[in-house]
């Protein structure tokens, strides 16, 4: 019983770790897309806010995802 529980817990942890790795990989793949390099994107909102205040501009915020197509 204890052995089964330990095995299941280990499998769960492993799946979680693999899943996190896969999510990071997908994020990296998203960063490699052409639309990212085509625009001078700022990836920190604080930096965007400072830049907008300094240059008296508005911010265009583009929210997308990498975990799914």
């Amino acid at each position: 019983m204890i052995r089964t529980t330990t095995l299941l817990a280990s499998a769960g942890l492993l799946a979680g770790a693999l899943s996190a790795q896969s999510m990071t990989e997908r994020y990296q793949q998203k960063l490699e897309k052409e639309f990212v390099s085509n625009t001078a994107w700022v990836k920190s909102l604080d930096t965007a806010k400072s830049k907008a205040a300094k240059e008296n501009k508005l911010i265009f915020g583009y929210f997308t995802r990498s975990y799914a197509p």
């Binding site: 997908r26 994020y27 990836k43 907008a52 205040a53 508005l58 915020g61 929210f63 997308t64």
Partner: protein
């Protein structure tokens, strides 16, 4: 979006006029600023916003074309100015109504105010005329958007004299539905009018999306429009009208 407008030359040029902020929801704590799209009011991806320098969302706009982006930023800048004036005169009811009204029409994913409230703000004495014009255009767009979901509604709107402007994102679908439904209603006049708007919108769509021409759906759409053109001609013949739909206007 990412394979189209955000790769375009006009977008690259336009983006020099604002700060472009990219947030990628990655479902991993390894990536910073996760969950922000929800905090900002997003309910689906991509969520496209215009924010002020404090990072507050003041407008929502999908950058589908240069004109749409320009209009979105013009409205957002107008809102910033009205809000600044209101902060100087907090008791000014006209400024308050103008700000609330403009703020309301800039919402697409965030919950919009009740239409009754918006109508009321639009009727406040001294409310900004440009904002009222934008509100009226927005109301028309909502009507057209709503009509896209109901069979027969586009035809009904056309009969009432309401139709999308040239190049509107709803134009192609609207006139496709209106033509189909006018043919079904055997209304030669509206069918011909809808077809005459549909043909150039289809041409413009193909010009804007050249890769779509290779898609099998493109051929199906072409065949459908050509079929409509034949049916409109038959209807006109039966109705004894001499106007004929210009089949040569249909483009593959």
């Amino acid at each position: 979006m990412e394979g189209g407008p955000l790769l375009s030359k006009w977008w690259k040029k336009a983006s020099k006029d604002f700060v472009s902020y990219l947030n990628i929801e990655a479902r991993t704590p390894a990536v910073p600023e996760q969950g922000m799209y929800k905090e900002k009011g997003g309910r689906g991806f991509p969520y496209c916003t215009i924010m002020n320098a404090a990072g507050e969302v003041i407008w929502e706009v999908r950058p589908t074309s240069e004109a749409v982006v320009a209009k979105g930023f013009a409205n957002a800048n107008k809102l910033v100015k009205i809000q600044a004036a209101l902060s100087q005169k907090p008791d000014d009811k006209a400024l308050e109504a103008s700000a609330s009204l403009l703020e309301g029409i800039g919402r697409s994913q965030r919950k919009a105010p009740a239409m009754s409230d918006m109508e009321e703000w639009g009727n406040v004495k001294g409310v900004d005329k440009v904002v009222v014009t934008a509100f009226n255009a927005w109301k028309k767009e909502q009507k057209i958007r709503g009509a896209m979901r109901r069979r027969g509604a586009a035809y009904k709107l056309m009969k009432e004299g309401t139709q999308p402007e040239k190049g509107s994102i709803y134009a192609l679908g609207f006139f496709m539905n209106a033509t189909r439904d006018a043919i079904a209603a055997k209304d030669a006049k509206i069918a011909a009018a809808a077809l005459n708007r549909l043909q150039p919108e289809w041409k413009a769509y193909l010009k804007k999306n050249p890769s779509f021409a290779k898609n099998p759906r493109s051929k199906r759409t072409f065949d459908m429009i050509e079929g409509y053109a034949d049916q409109v001609k038959d209807l006109q013949k039966k109705a004894g009208e001499d106007k004929s739909a210009d089949k040569s206007g249909v483009d593959k």
